[in-house]
Amino acid sequence: MTKTQNNKAWWLVVPVLLLVAFNAFIPLLTVVNYAFQETFGNNIFFWEGTTWFEQVLRSSRFHDSLIRQLIFTGMILAIEVPLGIGVALTMPRKGPWVSVCLVLMALPLLIPWNVVGAMWNIFALPEIGLLGHTLNSWGIDYNFTRQPVSAWMTTVIMDVWHWTSLIVLLCYAGLSSIPDDYYQAAHIDGASRWAIFRYIQLPKMKRVLTIAILLRFMDSFMIYTEPFVLTGGGPGNTTTFLSIDLVKVALGQFDLGPAAAMSLIYFLVVLLICWAFYTIMMRNEEQ
C-alpha cells in the first residue's frame, strides 16, 4: 500500500505562524536588536556587542532588584502554597456551601490588578485607611509610604490576598478528583489524618500543585502593576522589583540598550527557573 504524499495541510498552519510571529517573535527580535546596538534616534544604530549585558550584569542596581525579587517571590510562595492547601482541605466537598465557597474564593482573582493596588493603597493609608488607621490606633507605628518594613508587609499581604485563591482552587480541583474509595481504604487500613494527607491527598494534588507553583512563580516574578500602584517602588527603592526597575530604565531614563539587555536576562532567568522546577518535579514522577 502506498501512502499519498500531500503536504498541503501545512498551509493551514500559516495563520497561527503569522500570529505568533507578530505577537511574540518579531517583538522579541526587536528587543534583541536593541540589546546589541546603540541608537540616537533617526533609526541610526551602532554595534555595541555585549556591552549592555556586561553593564547590566555588573550593576549593583540590577543585583539589588533581582535579590528583592527573589525574596519577594520566595516569601509569597512560602505563604501562599501552605495556606492555599490548608484552605482547600477545609473546603466542603459537597452540599450547597461548595458553590458559595468557590465564588468567594474566585472573587479576588476577578479584580483587575491596578484596582487591587489602588484598593490596598487606600486600605492601608495611615491616616484614613481602615487598616492603616486601625494599626496606628493600636499603637503600632505603621506607614507604608515611609517605612520599608511596612511597605514590604503590605505588598506581601496584598499578593497573598490576591492570589492564594488560585492555589486554593487548583488544589481543590485536585482534591475533588480523589475517589471516595481511597479515603475508605485508608480508614480500613487505620491511617491517621496526617497519613491520609501525606500518602493520598498530597500525591494526588502533586500535578495541579506543580502547575499552581509554576504559575505563581512566574506571575510574582513578573509582578508590576500592584506594587507600582501601591508603593511606586518606594520608599526609596525598597520595593522596586525587577519589572518596576525595567520600566524605570526603559521609559524613565530611555536607556533602550541596557533595558533590552535586562529584558533578555530577565526572560532567561524566568525560563531557567521554570524549566529546572518542572524537570525536577516530573523526574520524581517517573521514578
Binding site: 474509595d181 481511597y182 475508605q184 481504604a185 487505620g190 500518602y199 493520598i200 494526588k204
Partner: protein, 359 residues
Amino acid sequence: MARIRFKNVRHAYPPPKGQEPVYALKEINQVWEDGGAYALLGPSGCGKTTLLNIISGLLTPSEGEILFDGVDVTSQSIAARQIAQVFQFPVVYDTMTVYDNLAFPLRNRKMNESLVKERVEQIADMLDLTTSLKKRAANLTADGKQKISLGRGLVRSDVNAILFDEPLTVIDPHLKWQLRSKLKELHQQIGMTMIYVTHDQVEALTFADKVVVMYDGTVVQVGTPVELFNHPKHTFVGYFIGSPGMNVIPCTVDNGQPVFAKNPLPIAQPVNKDLSGKLEVGVRPEFIDFADEGIPVNIEKVEDLGRYQVLTLKHEQETIKMVLNEDQTIPSENPKIQFNPEQTRVYCDGWVVEEAAHD
C-alpha cells in the same frame, strides 16, 4: 474471623427534601458462617454494595443490628471492626513501594518492624508479588494493584472478614480468571470469611460456596450454585442465573396443574388450588425437549453456540427459549415441545409455590 449475623437490617439513604425515604435494603435476616466464601449477586442498584458497606462500617444501617460472633458491632467504627475491603477500582498509595503499601496497615497499628517484614514477605509470596516488592506501586498494572489492595487486607492476621466490591471490573479478561482462581486458592489456604459482591453470575458461581442473590433490596435466595440453578425460589433467580435464563410464562392453575394457553403442563407435585396473585410457570431452557405431543411452537431463531444451540420459539405471543444439544435434531414439521415435569415450577407473585420438600 467471625460469623456474621444480620438482625432485621434495613437501610434508607437520606431522601431528597419532602420525600418519603426509599429503602435500599428492605429487611435482611441472615447468618453467614465463619470461613465461608459468599458471593452477593444481583443487578446494579439491588442494594448489594449498601449491604457490604454496612458490614465494613462505612454505613450505619437505619434499623437493625449486625453481629460478629454474637457481638453487636452496629455502632462500632471501621477500625474497631477489623474488616478488610477491596474496592472496584484498585486503591494503592502511589508514592510508596509495593512493600510499603503492604506494610501500611500494620505500621498504622504500630506493629514491630521485624514482624511487619515477616508478615509482608509471607503475603507477597502468596500473591506472587515478591519480585516487585521494591517497585513503586504506581507502576504496576491494574491486576497487580488489585493484588496489593487484597494484600493489604490479608496482611492483618486479626481480620474478621475480607470484602470484595466487584474487584475484577477493571481487570483484563484473561487475568480475571487467574485472579479469581488465586482468590479461591487463598480462601482454601487461610479459611478467612470472604464476601464477594458482583453482578456477574460466572464470577459469583465460580468463587463462592454460597451465593446470596439479591433483588430490589431483599435477599431472594441463598444457596450453592447447583441449588440456585435447579431450584430457583424466585423468578428473578431463575432469570438471572443461567444463560439463557429461565423461561417465565404466564399461566393459570386448574386442579393443581398449571395451564399455559390451554395447554396443561404436567408437574411433579400438584400445587395448592386456591392461589391468588400473578401466576407464572418457570422452566429452564435446558429442561425443554421436542416431543410428539405437547405445545405447538414456531421456531423463530436458531443460534449455534458450538456445543449447543439456543432456539427461540414462539407460541401465540409468548417467547420460549430452549437449549438443544449437538446430538438432538430439530423436527422438520409441526414442532411440539414438552417441559420436564420435575423441573417445571409454578410461581405466584414471583415466588415459587412449594410443591414438595426438596433438598
